[in-house]
Subunit: 373 residues, 2 copies
């Protein structure tokens, strides 16, 4: 039951970390539920790298695939759309309606690599302009996993008075060398594709599908744990009883990865992939606050709930512990939980009863305290 | 002080696991030291995926780069070339002189994808024919890391009477789903390159350099630990004081990976990369012995020394423990050691004093027992 697709043209130019401003920025967003009279029940959901504003509902109207968090957001769910006014916008640099490298520039040509390189803070700045334009001064909660969690952290660092509850999930306050390395492999895979054409493929009516598929395959491995892959696929063969002694997808894991790659290119823009991974690599909340992560949280007086997953090797629990320690040092009222699971990074998107119970408890208590009916 | 490059044409057709035989197989190999009168001091070194027969000496005469194990193999070293007769051959399917997809077929054309898909057992079969042709009935030791370790395991499984000491290092008796997944990403990166041309690039006088570089970059991440990458590179910028807000190699880790990729394509054949990774993915020593790994070691009456490295997430210590447990169950006299290091999989190629001390002790004791002077 999504509302129809909505796009807001930001009312003012968007200042960018890289310098200058971007005029005429469109932000594509969805909302669910109703803003209460006090305008106090808004929940902003921040999406991850390759996700979008279609958080819940029967189906993603653009991709025709399932929405990405229906078990958490919806009527009667943890983020109950009968209780909260839920907002999610496609990130700046994205390709689901918000301005990005696949959008048209003022001359009507696809931006391509002429689109400015953006940061997580730029994404949040665009979100904040949307939220303000919706008439909301303070968000009851900002929640997101992975890159969504980075946005949550940036919100409370740059707009501490506008957030009551922050829920950064399966995330990090900065990318490690290994995180950057995997992203760089993905970017090089895209750029290696002859159809990428220096980023100007849309004008040519083509897409670097093979390169983007390879990028997605490499990234997808990092979203799952070794043991989850072993449990799901092991060394099982795909529709055959013996290896073929060739280079077809003999193993189920090969077939699965190829499918992940080829289905991704149908729904995602290759240049968006470059821009968003770059924004994540650049994110370093401590560096942006004099080298002290606690300084980033010093002005936040709301509550935080930091969640990590034991088998997540993409953003390991240690990354979440770093966030929690800094929040404690900053005097933030923070709850922290490491969920035991073998599902890896993607666990935040999956059915994890302990995780869901924790979200539910934290939000319900905070809502009671703030008198949200 | 390598001997000059040598190639042996195998005296008989090579039977292949995939069926049929391969005629006229060349095996490129190097030797160091002198075979003793009893022909009992031969050590076979088995190389890893992208390495070659140039184990030790001043320089690799083909690549102009350093040799890969000079700190372990050489005069006065752990594998003392004044004491042992050391052999290393380029694996079947390789590209350093042994027959592989870059070799010429009987009609004088590069094999390309018409070369048969080979296995670790096929590689060992070719090595065994070389060893026999050199007049050696029993190898004092067979040693190797990573894919080299797979060859060691295959030697004692298929030729148990021909090996006195087996040293499988940083290896596994079968590839996990995650191992296969990373290899598949590499293969797809090669095949995505328009210059790959269905494997027939050599006839066209071109090479899929970009795709192979991406494959190497992805693989290289798996050879190092997260903490080693963080210690060596962290988030340090490359020759700049601030990010460029572009897609150049801002971070040192990006620059390092790009260098790893581009230098690799100068020394390695893309199709060889496909064939050798496939052989590793197919390797499953338990499956080849009725599903029981212990059965693979049942006829081996020599000694084994199994070494793993604590931060190796490519072939984690658990893989080595599986090997050790099976050897114990098979009644093999096995020593097993997990070396504490943060250097990841590549530790077997690096200066690791505890590792080197263990190799030294194991080999010295075994040599004394066998009366090797």
């Amino acid at each position: 039951m999504s509302a129809p697709a909505r796009i807001m043209r930001l009312p003012a130019p968007l200042p960018l970390d890289g310098g200058g401003v971007l005029d005429g920025v469109d932000v594509a967003y969805e909302t669910w539920g109703t803003l209460d009279a006090r305008r106090g029940n808004a929940v902003l959901v921040c999406h991850a790298l390759t996700l979008d504003q279609y958080v819940t509902g029967e189906i993603n109207p653009v991709t025709g695939r399932p929405t990405w968090w229906p078990q958490v957001v919806g009527p009667g769910r943890i983020i109950d759309t009968n209780r909260y006014f839920v907002i999610c916008s496609n990130v700046l640099g994205g390709c689901m309606g918000t301005s990005g490298p696949a959008s048209l520039d003022p001359d009507g040509r696809p931006w391509g690599l002429r689109f400015p390189v953006i940061t997580i803070a730029d994404m949040v700045r665009a979100q904040a302009m949307l939220v303000e334009a919706l008439g909301i001064e303070t968000l009851f909660a900002v929640i997101g996993g992975s890159m969504g969690g980075m946005q949550v952290l940036e919100w409370i660092a740059s707009r501490p008075d506008q957030v009551a509850c922050a829920l950064p999930l399966a995330t990090a306050a900065r990318h490690s060398a290994q995180n950057i390395a995997f992203h760089e492999v993905g970017r090089q895979a895209v750029m290696a594709d002859v159809d990428w054409r220096g980023g100007a493929y849309l004008e040519a009516g083509i897409r670097p599908a093979k390169g983007l598929a390879v990028a997605r395959m490499a990234a997808h491995i990092t979203y799952l744990s070794d043991s989850a892959l072993q449990r799901k696929f092991g060394r099982s063969l795909q529709d055959r009883v013996a290896p073929t002694f060739g280079f077809e997808a003999d193993f189920q894991i090969e077939s699965y990865l190829r499918h992940q790659g080829s289905s991704f290119v149908d729904r995602f823009d290759a240049n968006s992939y470059l821009y968003i991974t770059r924004a994540m690599d650049y994110f370093d909340l401590a560096a942006a606050h004099g080298g002290h992560l606690a300084a980033a949280f010093a002005r936040f007086r709301g509550r935080a709930c930091v969640v990590s997953f034991s088998s997540d090797w993409h953003y390991p629990p240690a990354d979440s512990r770093t966030i929690t320690r800094a929040m404690i040092a900053a005097g933030v009222e923070v709850s922290s939980l490491e969920i035991e699971t073998d599902k890896g990074h993607d666990a935040f998107l999956l059915d994890e009863p302990d995780f869901h119970a924790a979200l539910d408890g934290f939000l319900a208590a905070a809502a009671r305290e703030r008198g949200i009916a």
